[in-house]
């Protein structure tokens, strides 16, 4: 009897614990939604999304979020254009060209790179990468998008490698052996057989890495600067969406003030962008795993 009671009591205790994860999500949506709603009472949505000047703290105020989005996109595309080829090549190398010994050496190093806190990468960008780059481009600003994009690439390529490696290893041996029997070299098998077969999971890896790069905060705050400019060069100081939120919170925020609400409007945009990418990435990942 007591045993049965414990069984029921425990069951419901566990349900309460599970509910906390659901409540967290709901609260995030409610808070971002509520503060953004108040913000959009004062600033039209169209001006926010398509305005080209972001000056929320100084008069005359202007709330066009495009400069922040462009700043974020520079980091995102700059970093993925390094992280994708590098991450993919290491994954191909580990799964198609070497023994498991090499993987057991390389993987721990990648795990260490993932485990290093982002503020450390920010410090590294500011005090090592930027001075190096400035030897090549003397006109470069101390705070610049290039240096931040490089360290973000170092942060996200292990994720690309590990997801792609899993994808390649899940492919059946017969696929490779068929091609070898026809006289293909390992390079041809890797490029013409393995990569196309794992294409959707490579895509998923890229989307998940992009989402990580969008949300990256400390490295870009330290290395990329705080000037929201609408430009295309990588040598100048920029500001990302995340770095703006940090900049505002470093000052004294008045609750209910317009600065406080801009944080949540930018946060909502950030939330929606990463949510869509995570859902897409996880979906493709699972779908192709099932079909294999």
């Amino acid at each position: 009897m007591i045993s049965k009671f414990i069984d029921h009591a425990l069951h419901w205790t566990l349900v309460v614990c599970v509910a906390i994860t659901v409540i967290t999500t709901l609260v995030v949506v409610i808070i971002l939604g509520k503060e953004s709603y108040l913000f959009f009472q004062e600033v039209p949505v169209f001006d926010f999304l398509f305005g080209t000047r972001w000056e929320p703290l100084l008069e005359p105020k202007s709330f066009g979020v495009l400069p922040l989005v462009v700043g974020t996109m520079k980091i995102v595309f700059g970093s993925i254009s390094i992280a994708l080829p590098v991450g993919l090549m290491i994954a191909i190398y580990m799964s198609e060209f070497t023994s498991d010994n090499v993987r057991s050496i390389v993987k721990p190093f990648l795990e260490i790179l993932v485990g290093i806190p982002t503020v450390v990468y920010g410090y590294f960008a500011l005090t090592f990468v930027t001075p190096m780059l400035r030897k090549l481009f003397p006109e470069m600003n101390i705070f610049n998008a290039a240096s931040a994009a490089i360290v973000v690439a170092i942060m996200i390529f292990p994720m690309v490698t590990s997801l792609c490696d899993d994808a390649f290893r899940a492919l059946p041996r017969s696929l490779r052996e068929g091609a070898f029997a026809l006289g293909a070299t390992r390079y041809e098998v890797a490029i013409q057989i393995i990569m196309p077969a794992a294409a959707s999971r490579i895509g998923a890896a890229v989307v998940l890495a992009l989402s990580r790069a969008i949300g990256e905060t400390m490295a870009v705050t330290l290395a990329a600067g705080a000037t929201p400019e609408l430009s295309l060069t990588f040598l100048e100081s920029i500001q990302t969406m995340t770095a703006y939120i940090v900049q505002v919170s470093l000052g004294d925020i008045q609750a209910g003030g317009v600065e406080y609400m801009t944080c949540y409007a930018v946060g909502l945009l950030l939330f929606l962008m990463t949510l869509v990418m995570n859902i897409l990435g996880n979906h493709f990942q699972l779908k192709s795993r099932v079909s294999q």
């Binding site: 190093f109 410090y123 070299t185 919170s249």
Partner: protein, 284 residues
């Protein structure tokens, strides 16, 4: 014949390029560690570990940040481990295979991928303002707990899934109730895996900076926290503060702080590896 030679040459070139890229990316880690070590080692002494932050680099130290981080990680562990493991136990051992359970799992996956700064906005609105906890250790550790929770759940689910069916069925066959099966047999088997995941999640939240800045962790705290209601600073916040200053001396301090932080994280991760290797009773 020539065609064949070109193809084999392509193959060999590609292997060497791959080797080069792999070696280069691993060497990035060593360059980073060497750079930080070279900049910071001169500042790392007993005085640095035993002083409060200061305007003068020679007198500055990380005492309050170090203890703040220890408090934070202890409180975060207290909140997030029971919650995370309980959630994983429910999802793996109790929940029916229904669509809403699948939805909860997808939701946890998305929470794990949510940028940490959004947890900071959440903590600022709920813990700091709504619950009135101000910039106390409560706010900081509750925010970090929410951040660590999905990671702990996912890792624990994996560990529970790896427990062989026979263990559950053997216990049921002897007439055990579900809670007896789960707590007497399944959890002990999964414990090493769960502990590894938990330690990795905690070490990740120990390095988090952005959420703590959002909830207003101060970088100038010249006292040690004595109760959970005290304001605090943490190692990553202090490192950020020093790194953001233009003077080279403060960059040296930041590097010394990074060395301390990395040493702590290395100890945590090494213990995770140790637990995984030594305590694993059932090797899948």
């Amino acid at each position: 014949m020539i065609n064949r030679r070109i193809r084999s040459l392509k193959n060999r070139t590609f292997v060497w390029v791959c080797r080069g890229v792999t070696a280069a990316m691993i060497s990035v880690l060593f360059i980073l560690l060497y750079h930080v070590g070279q900049e910071g080692i001169g500042w790392l002494d007993k005085q640095f570990l035993d002083s409060f932050p200061s305007r003068f680099p020679e007198k500055a130290g990380i005492k309050s940040a170090l203890w703040g981080s220890v408090w934070l990680i202890g409180m975060t562990a207290t909140f997030s481990i029971p919650l995370g493991v309980a959630t994983a136990v429910y999802l793996e051992e109790y929940a029916p295979r229904k669509i809403w359970v699948r939805a909860i799992e997808i939701n946890i996956g998305n929470l794990a991928g949510m940028p940490s700064i959004l947890y900071g906005l959440l903590g600022l609105a709920i813990f700091v303002r709504f619950m009135g906890l101000e910039d106390s250790l409560w706010s900081g550790s509750l925010t970090l707990s929410l951040l660590a929770l999905p990671v702990i759940v996912i890792a624990s689910q994996g560990a529970l899934r790896a427990v062989p069916r026979e263990i559950r069925e053997g216990a049921y066959a002897l007439g055990a109730r579900r809670w007896q099966v789960v707590f007497g047999h399944v959890l002990p088997c999964a414990l090493p895996g769960i502990m590894t995941g938990v330690i990795l999640a905690l070490s990740r939240s120990m390095g988090e900076t952005a959420p703590l800045i959002m909830i207003g962790a101060l970088s100038y705290v010249a006292f040690l926290p004595e109760t959970p209601s005290d304001p605090f600073t943490a190692l990553p916040v202090q490192i950020f503060n020093w790194a953001a200053r233009p003077q080279a001396n403060f960059h040296g301090l930041a590097a010394a702080g990074i060395l301390v932080l990395l040493a702590l994280l290395l100890t945590l991760n090494a213990s995770a590896v140790f637990i995984r290797e030594k305590l694993q009773r059932y090797k899948p």
